[in-house]
């Protein structure tokens, strides 16, 4: 398989010691297996996420993202930018589309970038890791390195919002995207295709500011996973992962539930299926341990 290279935009949550460090870890291992070379964009900055609007306003938000584009163009010419975080990908892609659409906005952005000694030419493209996997490799290619089957584990594929809307993965529907289920089946797990909360919003940033509202939604997401007999939830989004995993305790208190379901990243499943260790898959990074995965990972 030909080596593929991308400019990597991990985003704030995927830094060492940050909330999605386990995501980062598993992505690294997965890419190693698939012979994908990710080169971090030097000195990348925050995308300002979707919550950045209130204080940030329009142009500053775009300028933040444009700075990353400019750095990528400058240091990693010709490479597409790949983000693993849904919000980073969405924010960056929105900026790109707006700048492509408006020469005015593009000019303003570059006027601001000049202050940092940078220029955005509008070349570099921004994609999500899942896009890369599905479009540049495809399920068949991705299946090849599988050495261990996750047989017998039932997964609820929780896609959430921002890897799904408004852009989503090509060929998938906003209401019923199937790619997580396909990935799960690819690694031998059982996908609960009937899972009806797969695109419900986890509350996003409101998990911080309006915990009650967000947790009400998270409750539905987890409950339905249990109802459909899931043992684990799998997701492509750091914020979804965090929100759905870490508030289960609080929800149990509030609603008298006994939720305790692991919430995984697709990259963790793939790493394990590819024969990686629990550590390679960042399984030690779970707040709710994925014991069965750890067992499979432990098998030699």
């Amino acid at each position: 398989m030909a080596k593929k290279e991308y400019a990597f935009y991990p985003g704030c949550s995927s830094q060492r010691g940050a909330s999605a460090s386990n995501y980062l870890k598993s992505v690294d291992s997965m890419c190693k297996t698939l012979d994908i070379k990710l080169t971090e964009i030097p000195d990348w900055n925050c995308c300002s996420a979707s919550i950045g609007y209130a204080e940030g306003g329009e142009l500053p938000r775009h300028v933040l993202n444009a700075r990353n584009f400019a750095l990528a163009e400058q240091n990693l010419p010709g490479q597409e930018i790949v983000a693993t975080c849904a919000a980073c990908w969405l924010g960056a892609r929105e900026t790109k589309e707006r700048l492509d659409a408006s020469s005015q906005l593009m000019a303003d952005t570059n006027e601001a970038l000049k202050e940092a000694g940078l220029e955005y030419k509008g070349e570099s493209d921004i994609r999500h890791m899942v896009e890369v996997l599905i479009e540049d490799f495809g399920y068949d290619e991705l299946k090849k390195p599988v050495v261990k089957s996750l047989e017998g584990i039932k997964f609820a594929g929780y896609v959430g919002c921002q890897t799904n809307r408004p852009f989503g993965i090509v060929g998938e529907s906003f209401e019923n995207p199937m790619y997580l289920d396909k990935l799960v089946e690819m690694v031998g797990g059982e996908a609960l295709t009937g899972y009806d909360q797969k695109v419900t919003c986890c509350g996003g940033a409101l998990a911080f500011s309006e915990p009650d509202k967000a947790q009400a939604q998270i409750k539905d997401i987890v409950e339905s996973a249990y109802d459909h007999g899931a043992e684990m939830i799998v997701t492509p989004c750091p914020l979804c992962q965090a929100n759905v995993e870490i508030y289960q305790g609080a929800i149990n208190k509030k609603y008298g539930k006994k939720f305790n379901i692991p919430v995984m990243y697709y990259s963790q499943l793939m790493t394990v299926a590819y024969g990686g260790s629990a550590k390679d898959a960042g399984l030690d990074g779970q707040v709710i341990r994925a014991t069965r995965l750890e067992e499979i990972a432990a098998k030699r």
Binding site: C12, A18, S50, I51, G52, T109, A112
Partner: protein
Amino acid sequence: MSNLSSQAAAQYNNNFLKEVEAMVEEGNWVKMCMQCGVCSGSCPTNFQAGWDHPPQEIFMMIRAGKREEVLNSQSMWMCTSCYNCIVRCPRKLPITHIMHGLANYAHRLGLAPKNQPTRHFAKLFWNNCIQTGRVNELKLSLGLYFKDGFKQGIINGLAMKDVALGLLKAKRLNPFELFKAHGCKDQKGIHAMLKKAHEIEERRKAIKTA
């Protein structure tokens, strides 16, 4: 003309709509709404307490010139950025962005509800992320807990301690972030760049309203 009737006269004229078109991100789309309500029905938070007006109703209120009611509204702050409204809108209005834009505008004018938690958090988040160029999750959470003062902060913090402990155990929350944080090297450049961006934005808005 008495104050009351001038108030009434403002109703249902297009002044506020024109203001929104000039000053609010994607505001020029508001006039395209045909009041089908699919956005309202698609919003995940609009059935919960505190949510006073769904998007389509906000758009109607803008067209009806209800400036204060709109800008004082909690609604825009309830947006989780799930983008359901955008993908379902039959007129392709960028509803999420309009709501964000309205929130931003209300915030800048100081008309947004005081102590609106999301408003507060959004401000924290932005400042947090531009300070070093990257978000510091620990400071961000602490900042949020302590928004209502120290005592409340401890209470909020304790309420969340299990979450925090869980993350600590999983090495997904790093206490040392308080002292030695992640961050970009060229923070000077970033600050200058953003300062410039704000200037330009003000300049543009000034031209529009002139």
